[in-house]
């Protein structure tokens, strides 16, 4: 308790520390937003709530880490993770997801939970349970007498995340496949009647989601650490963001992603780094409760 109070007073004494926390939060939040965008895509288009989302992120991180271990340049990791995870997503779709789309929601939730356990355990066997990261070897910029520091690696990471997001958005807006995906999200049956091969759209959407997650993971491994069992907390963060922002609300997803990033950084600063997981999960409960109260006012429930 004393520790918490002294941490709080530190924030008030040195307002500039807030800036550092907010910047850190925005950087990590941008990556949360990427994973959440993928979740919203899959959720909206095929009504699958993917609990393996976080494990796709971590798997992408390991792809990049493995490449660096074998002497490839670190920045190659992001496109490589995108491509590899595209393939893994496609296999996961063909083997599992395609068979649960038409079923009730708990089925898809549980099937993806099983998938998450499998992925985490496979990564544990292949890469061991230690935390890993990739050091880009770039310098760190210091501001305000060294209180605020921004590693260039993090800046590059955020820029790459932004570039990836922009690319995906432009793709969704302009390409034929993007149009087909949006049409399927609105009404799959109507889309089928209009001659859209929804099966192909589903497979593409899920692979795209997996690839986005993989790229996000490859960025995370450059600026953060990964571990085989960190996946679930990324999945939960994605759920928090989508639940708070709603489906098909891209600005909302980005705002919520940045928000949760900042919130977590504050939480970790005030309560200590060991509470980070707990804070992510408690945030989920808070968002759910908030949405419940909102819905109750409309005489509705959250379903």
């Amino acid at each position: 308790m004393d520790q918490v109070l002294s941490n709080l007073s530190l924030l008030l004494e040195f307002p500039i520390v807030n800036l550092k926390i907010i910047l850190d939060g925005i950087m990590i939040g941008a990556l949360f937003a990427l994973a959440a965008y993928g979740l919203a895509l899959v959720w909206g288009v095929m009504n699958v709530k993917n609990l393996a989302q976080g494990d796709f992120v971590i798997a992408g991180g390991y792809v990049s880490w493995w490449l660096v271990q074998h002497g490839f340049p670190a920045l190659l990791g992001v496109p490589a993770a995108f491509i590899v995870m595209w393939g893994i997503g496609w296999v996961a779709y063909k083997l599992v997801i395609s068979r649960v789309i038409e079923r009730d929601l708990f089925t898809s939730l549980l099937a993806t939970f099983g998938l998450a356990i499998m992925l985490a355990q496979i990564m544990n066997l292949l890469f061991g349970s230690d935390t890993q990261s990739v050091d880009l070897g770039y310098k760190t910029l210091y501001f305000f007498d060294g209180i605020v520091n921004i590693p260039i690696a993090k800046l590059i990471g955020v820029l790459m995340a932004a570039a990836l997001a922009t690319g995906v958005i432009i793709f969704m807006k302009t390409s034929r496949m993007g149009q087909a995906i949006r049409a399927t999200a609105q009404d799959a049956r109507a889309a089928r009647v209009m001659g859209i091969d929804t099966e192909k759209v589903y497979a593409f959407t899920f692979s795209l989601n997996s690839a986005i997650c993989g790229a996000a993971g490859a960025i995370i491994v450059m600026v953060w650490v990964i571990q085989p069992f960190y996946g679930i907390s990324y999945a939960i963060r994605a759920f928090v963001i989508v639940t708070a922002a709603g489906l098909g609300n891209l600005p909302g997803v980005i705002a919520a992603g940045l928000g949760i990033g900042v919130f977590e950084q504050y939480g970790a600063h005030i309560f200590g780094i060991s509470y980070q997981q707990a804070i992510a999960v408690l945030l989920l409960l808070l968002v759910l409760i908030f949405r419940l109260i909102q819905q109750r006012r409309n005489r509705q429930v959250l379903k």
Binding site: V96, L109, L110, G114, M118, A278, I289, Q295
Partner: protein, 345 residues
Amino acid sequence: MAKKKIILYALILAFTFIAPFAFPNFGTQLATLWLMIIVALTWDMTGGQMGYNSLGNIFFYGTGMYVAALISIGRVYDIGDYTSAAGGGIYEFTDVQYFSGVFLGVLGAGVFCSISAVIIGYVTFGLRGPYFAIGTLGVAIAAGELVSNWDWVGGGQGISLPGYPGDPDTGKVFFYFLFAAVGVSVFVFVKWLYETRFGAAINAIRDDEEKAEAMGIHTLRYKLITWSMAAFFVGMAGGISAFQLLHFEPLETAYQTIFLGIFMVVCVLLGGKGTLWGPVIGAILFHLFKEVTWNYFLGWQWVALGALIVVTVVYFQDGVMGWLVHKRPEWFGIQVEDKIAGETE
């Protein structure tokens, strides 16, 4: 028919009594089997019968462990001193202290968990479908994380408990019978419950909650009571586990979200959701599968487990009982419309 059933139940009960003596080498496995039956049957109370698929029932198991341990320790020693010694040897328990600690601890765990189910349920039962599943999963994960940061209850190290006073083999039988007693109670309890109006009402909530609300059924009250009853039994099972395992820690043993927490769901799906015998059959099948095959996977056990979940969910979701109902509907007293006798309209 009724006579046959009585004979069947008598045989099962007799086997329950004989099993630990007939198979002394498998005492712990048999006790674990009862644990699986308990968590599967109680999971099915909300998941199968009421349509609320909780991924967080493991919360009650972990909480039951802690409550039982803290009660039994707290009656004799200061808890903070005890946990900071981390199982150091100066803390002795007399036989009376041990057994009364087990008894009160297990009972207290049940009561505490059923109360916490009402409190958590009051919030989470406003959530439907997948939100409920994720929300309850969140509760279980959050509890594990918070407890592992709480030094007073041992933090990430967990708690060590005194061993069974006397012959360890007798101890195994003792814990077997504790689990068996709870397991038989759960079975008798749910068998009775599902035949009452209350049982029909929770089925109505499962099949169409909006309609149930529109018929004036106290949906929230019934949901809370059901979960609270399930939590009572799971909490007791957790309490017994705490004494059986001697040592437990928060993330891997108590709030083991991805192990027992998901096993119970798989057991129910394997056996057949929303049936009386399904969870029992599923628990037996799953436990057999796990114990028999475990050593042959050479480190890939948990991957195989994930695969089993996926395969069960995707290909065999109706379970053994669902398959039987489909193949032999007349065994379950279901009439199928005779198309020729047809319309009287």
